[in-house]
Symmetry: D2
Amino acid sequence: MSEPLHLPADPGQYGYTFGGREAVASVKPGDTVTLRTLDCFGGKVRSVDDLPSQVCEFPYLNPVTGPLYVEGAQPGDTLAVHVVSLTPASPVGISSTFPHFGALTSTGYTRTLQAPLEERVWLYDIDLAAGTVRYQARRSDFTVDLPLAPMLGTVGVAPAANEVRQTIVPDVHGGNLDTPLLGPGATLYLGVNVPGALLALGDGHARQGDGEVCGVAVEVAMDVTIRVDVISGVPTGTPRLETDSELVSLGAARPLEDAFRISQDDLVRHVAELTGLDLLDAYQLVSQTTSARAGNVVDPQYVMSAGIDKRYLPGVTAYRGIHERLRNG
Amino acid sequence: MSEPLHLPADPGQYGYTFGGREAVASVKPGDTVTLRTLDCFGGKVRSVDDLPSQVCEFPYLNPVTGPLYVEGAQPGDTLAVHVVSLTPASPVGISSTFPHFGALTSTGYTRTLQAPLEERVWLYDIDLAAGTVRYQARRSDFTVDLPLAPMLGTVGVAPAANEVRQTIVPDVHGGNLDTPLLGPGATLYLGVNVPGALLALGDGHARQGDGEVCGVAVEVAMDVTIRVDVISGVPTGTPRLETDSELVSLGAARPLEDAFRISQDDLVRHVAELTGLDLLDAYQLVSQTTSARAGNVVDPQYVMSAGIDKRYLPGVTAYRGIHERLRNG
Amino acid sequence: MSEPLHLPADPGQYGYTFGGREAVASVKPGDTVTLRTLDCFGGKVRSVDDLPSQVCEFPYLNPVTGPLYVEGAQPGDTLAVHVVSLTPASPVGISSTFPHFGALTSTGYTRTLQAPLEERVWLYDIDLAAGTVRYQARRSDFTVDLPLAPMLGTVGVAPAANEVRQTIVPDVHGGNLDTPLLGPGATLYLGVNVPGALLALGDGHARQGDGEVCGVAVEVAMDVTIRVDVISGVPTGTPRLETDSELVSLGAARPLEDAFRISQDDLVRHVAELTGLDLLDAYQLVSQTTSARAGNVVDPQYVMSAGIDKRYLPGVTAYRGIHERLRNG
Amino acid sequence: MSEPLHLPADPGQYGYTFGGREAVASVKPGDTVTLRTLDCFGGKVRSVDDLPSQVCEFPYLNPVTGPLYVEGAQPGDTLAVHVVSLTPASPVGISSTFPHFGALTSTGYTRTLQAPLEERVWLYDIDLAAGTVRYQARRSDFTVDLPLAPMLGTVGVAPAANEVRQTIVPDVHGGNLDTPLLGPGATLYLGVNVPGALLALGDGHARQGDGEVCGVAVEVAMDVTIRVDVISGVPTGTPRLETDSELVSLGAARPLEDAFRISQDDLVRHVAELTGLDLLDAYQLVSQTTSARAGNVVDPQYVMSAGIDKRYLPGVTAYRGIHERLRNG
């Protein structure tokens, strides 16, 4: 293992698209990389009076650090991104409502003639030692400490067929997946579409509920350590994820049924491939064991996860055992 | 507490609708009831050669035991149904695919011109002592033991406004909710629409994955012990559920977004009512803490659950503490 | 042909469900029936100050006249209902917004935390001689005459399997279809589920745009003349409709894709059956010729229509030519 | 008016994205342009034996001619594209099914485990003099002449925020709108996102049913004459279209409800702006008059149109009367 690459928190390191941008650095398979990601507001919301719609410039939200050129990664390969650690880089996490953004409001897609919800900002004190983030109501004295559960909202590569997508969009290239499963110890698998893959990441969350219902998690700049690798000759369609206990497929689509269907279909096909079960036998096994959770239900495409406990797949190893190797450094 | 009511496994005790049927027995608030439920096939699938489309008479599936007249229950009240215990009444659980039913096939709603998937039956050996159900592939030697995790798929009351609904449909009256959360130790809350509520239940599952993806869980006749009570003057809109650790709202609708929205909206409003938080503050708290899981994604209406850990609501008691009282007998 | 049956405008003739009610009269195949239908508000909205949420008792809206027992109609048959004429029975049509009802507002299904739209009533002067209804803005002097285009919003039979559904719901039994195609000259085909079919109808509209976007058409009590007949031994799945120029299939479902899919799938299968084309050839022909319009996008289930010009099906006769016979009396 | 620009049918003139490509020519506001568009297969399907999945290279379908740099067009302006004439450039139109593409099949989004439909190609003889295209069944002798009704499936500009989208995707930048309304005599309005707008177009259809149900219209290379203009300082959100008789808003989204909502919401707001009606009065007027038709229900995003007859908007002129001027040359 070479020395970790440290990526400075330099404006040139950030962008608002997957695709359409030059690599800011190059890494080798197996490399450990440490970097700083900005929060989804680009650091512009600093108090409860900084309303995002006033201090941010739409649609330039959700900056991602990178892209990184991963040496040797070729179209048709799979990029493995193991999250080694995530440490909030600020003592305060931020959440908010936005006008016409979120799951319990009309939006630019689900349009209605109603007035938007109030735009309101919440600040969360983060206590790294205690492992908590503190929710504080804005209209009463209610406070409660919630577990710190850091995760990355947005990790992706350059899309296929020369497309360039805003970072807010999750799709087969990754992007704004917003699943609480993507925390320390998880390995994300993404299909490579262009030489070098062009990995970028950001949108750290100190914690997030399933669905990211109000549209905004507990957002925070993050010190990130990842380890990357390439599985040559093994393609990946929709993003997948592995933890010590679970194999997970992620479906990104609208409507939510389709995100669900993609995730479950992919898990069935993955289980069939790994176990040798025929497709219907795999369908049956998955049906009795899968965990189906909402990732986000707020972005231009939604995300559902389909997970299976690896104990129900005895003797099976996914992606040549790379998760095990990456987690052990 | 009176002696438990034992309901015999008599054909007269079963039906295929919520509403439109006379009560088969009467119970008092606080009563413990033991009863037997049939499996969703009405016991007609006994081997892998009994294809449901051949041995069952559509749409007469999913029989429910009852209805029970709960004394004193009035429109505008809430019925609490605490699941004390669930014991499979057969050593073998059954699952299957159906033609054009399930999440990964076209259906009578999501119609396509494609041929249906093969109809196939799987049998699961249930080992009560070991607490396992054994998956056995049909086209290979693969077997694996899965944890026994019994639950009730279908619990409901008579609908409002004189409607009569097939038991396969989940809606605000309960019905085929198909959430793995509805197992021993859970208390289900349903709004009462008619005098006596007319509670009926069935569709026991030895276990089920989120979403009931292939359309059929590990189905089994069940020996059921429940305790029922009435919360007078407290209405309930969409079904809710409480366990020792969680408060949960259940949304039943199509499309899946709407099931999700209903569950999350109801949880936000419930949390606001219990904590005194204003609606936006409750929205924020729920957004960072909610668990959003698929119940079923196969029935005429889908179900999503929205749960919050009760630790995040310190000092709060839902429904006058009835869950605590019912679980303690 | 016997003398037309005249059904008096008696309270006993109206109800709020399909199924669950006794027939109010009996008719023979071939009979002409004249009857009066109430408007969807049951006549309770009489001025712009009568807000529906205040003067109506929810959910008792959309009364239907009937049911009529059609002699000889048996499960597995098709009921043909030909609309001979529709004459508004009031000089004033009524429309409104409702809180949380309509396509451009959040609803009880598509829930948000936003405040509802204002509830507002509009009155339309109907000029039978000129064939117009007059739109008059409530907040300005803008007025415009629109063509009178009367139609029936709700026509249905008793559902299968003992279900009882509110009249507001469209489904395979018909119900609140809300398609502008169902006007004078159209023949509606509905599958019969119970002996006598138990036909009921109401919800007359002086006119309606596609989708019934605000949730309420130009509602008016209606003098209705229909002619009914039975096509023995010919089942109908989803409702169909025939005019002098078009064959139409109606899909009722959520989400709107599924309503669309049902209507198009049914039209493809109908065209295949009528022409002898194989399924893919019929799919191709329909793809290049179908008209796909929104019926309603506001009810508990939505409706899409799929129509094909009968000129593209030379020599073809649907349902044994009954439309032709009924229109010619 | 200057001489029409003639764009040669040169490979350099075609591409597969909106955005990400350099202009191939420059035009002035008011210019008439004649150009040739390729069919959606890039001319590679020439007989019923040329299966698209074998002769085409996915996802490189739906080539568009251009982009054209429109002088003076600036972000915040609206580009008006008037279709003067469309003449099929080949005597044969082509349609087909694709594996897992279309409205009545599972797709890459609406995934199922079922086998795909058969891939089949149909050829349509085009008779320009008679104004017909001839449908010929592949598995029987059935033939029928359908009216020639040429339209452009795909017209768009470069997206905002540096995005690059495949031509198959319709969105606020236009793209694969697939509405039969976009034929000769129609003026399409698109918001300008980059200097010069970068207009490109293609995907000519000899005719198409609403929804483009099988996924493929009667595809044909087309000789196109358009006239372009710029409405300075007038932004356009979602695409709009004007004919001599109708004002139309186009919504592109998934699910279909959202495409419907976008189109209707935009039409309501447009009508309010043009007439001075308040929003609810405009909602009411649109509700009783709108025509809501499916554009496509097969692409990565669906399209619905919302149209209003201009007779119901007396004295109103949209976009400074540019449609009238462009149609009169």
